[in-house]
């Protein structure tokens, strides 16, 4: 058995490609474990956990490619021979052969009509690339995170003064002219416009609108910090203006985590003074309904409700299945009865930040504030973000988990490891998982977790425990993964699949509440 590390100084590949190479190398004969990744602190931490870190990889910088393999001498040598061919394959598995310009200028020479850029390079380089694209008159979806707020301000000031979109940074999703961009779902075209500072929140609302039978005109993402005092809602206002004058948009849904109060006032004032369309607002967990309604908009308390209100206004309501409260209560009581006395806690493992946030708000009504890496109040911040305790919800798409590695909607590795850990904890009663599908996401996330659920439900049964896993699939039947197929895969292993993130969180909260109640102890 050998541990082999090769460091290639200054050699760069994107995290999606490296994830595919790692998976392929790991499956080769004679390889026990392998990782091919950039030398970020997060990736070194992962190597340490899996016993692949050595002096060479410890000394690698963020600009270096780290190749780490454990296996037989022959297996490792053979894998190293194949490595370069794998690194030079495109993510679709083909050898790169098409022309690829190296700069934005040369791309524009080759295709003068380019009018939109999607940018997902490491955060410290993202602002320069985004500014170059804006200066060439291109609208930008800036997927990269780890971009400073000062850089965001500079980019958005330029974009607004030139009538352009700068969606992001850390903007996960958008739909422009029915084209899904970034992490996005295939939804019906319609008359509902969406502008949101909450990527998976927008995905949840749009997929539920689709399930109700209504459709989307345009969906503009702003990035999560847009409604901060520093940015002042620059792109939210830009998006609202655009949708307000769009002839194909009749209803506008506004989605954000709680904005800074003065920015909330500014947005609501703009809606009151300028907007001629019907507006539905969901400031997830923030904003007073009366102040939203005072400006003539409709207030929705959850993403699910925002989708329902907008669909009703569009003349398509109740197409999507919803859970009645008494049905949730019945399932919760039945499940709670099967738990053993030690099983008390809820663990949410989320790939979607807004879905995690919404769940924490909902379960708070049943079990109080929960621990998190992105908590609702600072006292509940985990000391170690990857070590849940008591009731915990983790947002695994947060910046700290994505430096130099692919987003958890695409790379399920970290969530799989955490699932295995939490499912083995005898104190855990319920695990909540979001399954977000669509373009950009993993090709079969439900398949990955179905295998793990099967294994751990059986382990728990042998140990006298009843492991409850609750999920909801954010996606549509038109997505490449097909939401119906994904739901079926989960259900077949005993996962309780709810029709929305809010319903999944409510059920989990009820189960844990019953599990800890006097009624059950008697």
């Amino acid at each position: 058995m050998v541990l082999k590390t090769v460091i290639r100084r200054g050699e760069y590949y994107d995290s999606g490609r490296l994830m595919i190479v790692t998976r392929t190398i790991s499956k080769l004969e004679g390889i026990i474990d392998a990782a091919v990744q950039m030398g970020t602190a997060l990736n070194k931490e992962a190597l340490k956990r899996t016993g692949l870190l050595d002096k060479d990889s410890e000394g690698a910088s963020v600009d270096d490619l780290m190749i780490s393999m454990k296996g037989t001498g022959e297996g490792v040598e053979s894998a190293l021979v194949q490595l370069d061919a794998l690194l030079n394959q495109s993510s679709s598995g083909l050898q790169d052969s098409e022309y690829r310009p190296k700069t934005i200028d040369s791309a524009l020479k080759a295709e003068p009509g380019l009018n939109f850029a999607i940018i997902s390079v490491p955060g410290r380089f993202a602002k320069n690339e985004a500014m170059k694209a804006l200066q060439k008159g291109m609208h930008v979806l800036l997927f990269s995170d780890n971009v400073s707020i000062e850089e965001e301000k500079e980019l958005k000031t330029f974009a607004v003064s030139h009538g352009l979109l700068l969606m992001g940074p850390d903007c996960g999703t958008a739909i422009i002219n029915n084209v899904p961009l970034g992490f996005a779902n295939k939804v019906r075209q319609g008359n509902i416009g969406v502008v949101g500072a909450a990527g998976t929140g927008m995905q949840e609302v749009m997929t539920l609108i689709h399930k109700h039978g209504a459709g989307i005109s345009q969906a503009i993402g702003t990035g999560g910090r847009d409604l901060s005092v520093t940015i002042g809602g620059a792109m939210m206002l830009q998006g609202l203006k655009a949708l307000n004058s769009d002839k194909n948009t009749d209803i506008i849904v506004v989605i954000s985590k709680p904005p800074a109060p003065e920015v909330s006032d500014k947005i609501l004032q703009f809606i009151k003074d300028e907007c001629r369309k019907t507006i539905v607002v969901n400031f997830v967990g923030g904003g007073r309904p009366e102040s939203i309604e005072a400006c003539g908009a409709i207030s929705a308390s959850t993403l699910e409700e925002a989708a329902l209100r907008a669909s009703e206004l569009a003349g398509h309501a109740n197409g999507a299945p919803r859970m009645a409260e008494e049905d949730l209560d019945r399932i919760a009581r039945d499940e709670a009865k099967r738990l053993n006395a030690g099983q008390k806690y809820l663990r949410g493992l989320y790939s979607g930040g807004t879905l995690c946030y919404e769940s924490m708000l909902i379960v708070r009504d049943f079990v109080g504030d929960v621990y998190s890496n992105t908590p609702l109040n600072k006292q509940m911040k985990l000391l170690d973000s990857a070590a849940p305790c008591k009731h915990t919800c983790l947002d695994l798409g947060d910046d700290e988990f994505t430096a130099g590695r692919a987003h958890p909607m695409l790379d399920t590795t970290l969530r799989e490891q955490l699932f295995e850990h939490e499912a083995s904890d005898p104190n855990v009663a319920v695990i909540l998982l979001d399954i977000v599908i669509g373009y950009g996401s993993h090709s079969d996330p439900a398949g990955v977790f179905a295998d793990l659920v099967r294994k751990h439900k059986e382990n728990a049964r042998r140990e006298g425990r009843h492991l409850i896993v609750i999920s909801s699939v954010c996606g549509t039947e038109e997505d490449p993964q097909n939401s119906l197929t994904q739901e079926r895969k989960l259900q077949e292993t005993g996962v309780i699949v709810m029709p929305s993130n809010a319903a999944a969180a409510r059920l989990a909260g009820k189960i844990v509440s019953y599990a800890n109640s006097e009624e059950r102890r008697l």
């Binding site: 100084r9 200054g10 760069y12 994107d14 995290s15 999606g16 910088s61 963020v62 600009d63 495109s90 993510s91 679709s92 098409e98 690829r100 310009p101 190296k102 700069t103 934005i104 791309a107 080759a110 295709e111 009509g113 380019l114 009018n115 939109f116 850029a117 999607i118 940018i119 997902s120 390079v121 410290r124 380089f125 320069n128 690339e129 694209a133 008159g137 291109m138 609208h139 997927f143 990269s144 030139h162 009538g163 352009l164 979109l165 422009i176 002219n177 084209v179 899904p180 961009l181 970034g182 345009q218 830009q238 203006k241 655009a242 004058s245 769009d246 692919a406 695409l410 373009y439 950009g440």
Partner: protein
Amino acid sequence: MNTVNDIFGKQLKILNIGLEQFADDLTSQGIPCIQLDWRPPAQGDPEAADLLSLLLE
């Protein structure tokens, strides 16, 4: 003055800078997309990159 609405209804012609998965997804739907062969500038040293871009201007 340009407005955001100018892009509505127009054919998107996209430049993808970074994760190739996004370009693959667009191409599979028949959306015109060019993938940039992006590398960190000047071995990833932002100061050297800034200097280099000033020299090239």
